[in-house]
Amino acid sequence: MPKQDSSKTKDNKLTSRRDFLRSAGNYTVASLSGAAMLLSDPKPAKANVTWEEHFQKNYRLMTDEEKQQAIERLETRYSEEYGKQVTVDGTPSIEGVLFGYALNIQKCIGCRRCVKACVAENNQSRGDEQQIEWIRVLRMEKGKFSETDRDQHGYPESFGVQVGGNAYKPAGVVLEGQHYYEPEQVPEKDAFYFPMQCMQCEKPPCVKVCPVRTTYRDPDGIVVIDYNWCIGCRMCIGACPYWARRFNWGEPNLPKEEMNPVTHYLGNRPRMKGVVEKCSFCVQRTRKGRWTACVEVCPVGARKFGNLLDPNSEIRKVLAKKKVFRLRADLNTYPKFFYYMD
């Protein structure tokens, strides 16, 4: 396949369409899914969702046999759509494992390699029209305290109301982060960084509000989603205090050549329009004993991942020895995503 980027301008789209048609011809010769190839669209041709898939049960309630059938159906469909051998894994959670994550905000330099690695690994939609990222890095401004910008009278508000302080701007660190920043170079002098993603709460508000139990907490502590069961009501998006969940507003845009064919049913398999998705602690990797993509890519080692039930794990050592806190602990969601400082 020729390189194509769907987020480009119209002209580029046209050329890539021509290229596509040419290559589509080759595919037909190779007798690869002829029917799907008739659609002359640069996006992956949609293979038909079978009736069996449309009327399948919620994944958690399926018997092992039904799960296997569902997985095989998906493998066939995805392989056809993306023109390569796609595997869909169904590995259940491992006994004696509770996944936890710790992030060193002192080390994070805000390079956002984690964001990019996550997108590449987890098959999110990309392009201008619909870009989904599961990690957001907030840039936190360090506060500046200005000697001159003060009201020495102690009456800073109108109507002569005494409100207490005499600084017009908050002193010290300003707890107002924002995730759009495009610096020449990171880390920036006057900022520190605060990455956020799904906190994999032990008491997840999103799970509680889901009317069809399509999102649930697996025994290893990962909050997963059965994309085939989601009705798209977005209650979970409203309930999540960490803004971790994303919705596929349109048909996801996942170019064939960028598609990661090693997938998990509850994790990074390609999604459809109208369903919610979020970080799954790279369930396709971690249940096979690998690091998550974001841990693997972090250039400064700010990200730690491991089994909270294993007393000798790195994550347990971090929790025992470092200054650890959780985000919005007041909400009693019990996140398994910790922040720490050395």
């Binding site: 509000v209 009317p211 798209g232 977005r234 205090p241 919705f247």
Partner: protein, 417 residues
């Protein structure tokens, strides 16, 4: 057989009318077609055709949903005085109130379907064949109370009409329990809808226990306002007689509920803005804007002025009892509450986002088409149901046995010769 005849006669009566009637129905039909088109585009392309996004994922559809649940619940302002206080004038037109409730609930269900990303998977919600996350998910409570309310009103309204039609006695031990359950149930639909959004600490603007009572008071102001206008139209365009007394009681309900609603709004504003914590950013954005992002500000103040203005006007008995002025004040109150409780509640709840990002939202053309179309469906249903109901109540449409039919046709034949 008799019931089938009822359905046929009711449909006939509902779709009989003069030029004005057909012009009105065609006008609505135009918007219903736009709804069909909008839904088609949205289902074919996904929710991307709306202006909803990651920051503002709940918008125009849910705003209208919340408002219409209130209007549906407000049928109780007719039913309650009629059955609990034995208000004679309202008792005669109770069925008309139930028709308004039915149309409003149907609109609610359509708004929810428009909001869903995967309406094709609606069956996942059905108990037995799907999974119904009851009692954990508040949305499942809402599904139960809304559908239950629809059913209660259909049973209550049409049982009464059918008995009128067929000339049978109303079985009170069946009918009255339905009515009383429906009264309590009406409160439940709006309470649960309030719980649906105020049980999420992630959205501090909504996270207060005043939500259910504020919903009910605004509903009992907006609902009877609509009912007054509809009843005045019924009185104007049909032979149905509705006494002035009925309007006087309803306008009193409007004025007091409006007053309480304004008091609650004031309490909320003081509680939020006095300490002015970060949790009040949504309300601040609604009232004053945020760094130039102030598209909601004019709407909020207009809505508040409409509510305060109509409250003050309605307090004056001479104006409240003037049935030429009343509908205009009612329309003003209705629009004010629609803005304040619809978009004025939905948007500052989701803006700013939990990470503090402000993003402005205006509905897209598709959203406008779908919402406008659903309103048209509501009015279409309402017009048809009211026409049929009035015909039955007036005795114009009655069950006729074969022999009496024959008598009628013989009479007609005689008259022709």
């Amino acid at each position: 057989m008799r019931f089938l005849q009822f359905v046929v006669d009711y449909l006939k009566a509902g779709f009989t009318g003069g030029l004005l009637f057909w012009a009105w129905m065609l006008f609505l039909l135009f918007f219903i077609m736009l709804w069909g088109y909008g839904e088609y585009v949205q289902i074919a392309n996904g929710m991307i055709v709306t202006n909803l996004n990651d920051q503002v994922s709940w918008g125009f559809y849910l705003a209208n949903f919340v408002f219409m649940v209130g209007v549906a619940a407000a049928a109780v302002t007719v039913v309650f005085p009629a059955y609990v206080y034995k208000h004679k004038e309202l008792h005669r037109i109770v069925v008309l109130g139930e028709m308004i409730a039915i149309a409003a609930v149907v609109m609610c269900l359509l708004f929810v379907i428009a909001h869903m990303g995967r309406p094709d998977r609606l069956w996942h919600l059905l108990p037995v064949i799907g999974i119904f996350n009851f009692p954990h998910a508040m949305l499942t409570w809402d599904v139960i109370v809304l559908n239950g309310y629809l059913l209660l009103n259909i049973i209550g309204g049409y049982y009464y009409l059918y008995k009128k039609y067929s000339g049978g006695e109303i079985n009170k031990s069946f009918y009255l329990p339905v009515v009383y359950i429906a009264i309590v149930w009406a409160l439940s639909i709006h309470t649960v809808t309030a719980f649906l959004i105020n049980t999420m600490p992630a959205r501090p603007m909504w996270f207060h226990s005043m939500m259910p009572i504020k919903f009910i008071t605004t509903a009992f102001a907006a609902g009877p306002s609509l009912i007054i206008v509809v009843f005045l139209l019924v009185r104007r365009f049909t032979p149905m007689k509705i006494a002035d007394e009925a309007f006087h009681l309803l306008s009193q309900i409007v004025v007091w509920c409006l007053g309480i609603a304004l008091f609650l709004t004031m309490s909320e504003i003081v509680t939020e803005l006095y300490p002015a914590t970060e949790h009040s950013l949504g309300l601040q954005y609604l009232m004053f804007g945020h760094n130039g992002l102030n598209s909601l500000v004019p709407f909020f103040w207009t809505a508040l002025s409409l509510m305060v203005g109509s409250f003050i006007l309605l307090l004056i008995p001479r104006i409240r009892k003037n049935l030429t002025l009343l509908p205009f004040i009612c329309i003003a109150a209705f629009i004010g509450i629609w803005v304040e409780k619809g978009m004025g509640l939905m948007l500052p709840g989701v803006i700013p986002t939990p990470v503090g990002e402000f993003a402005e939202y205006t509905p897209s053309h598709i959203e406008l088409m779908v919402v406008g179309g659903i309103w048209a469906i509501g009015f279409f249903l309402l017009t048809f149901m009211l026409k049929g109901a009035v015909a039955v109540l007036q005795g114009e449409v009655r069950y006729r046995t074969e022999s009496s039919k024959q008598a009628v046709s013989e009479q007609q034949a005689e008259a022709a010769t």
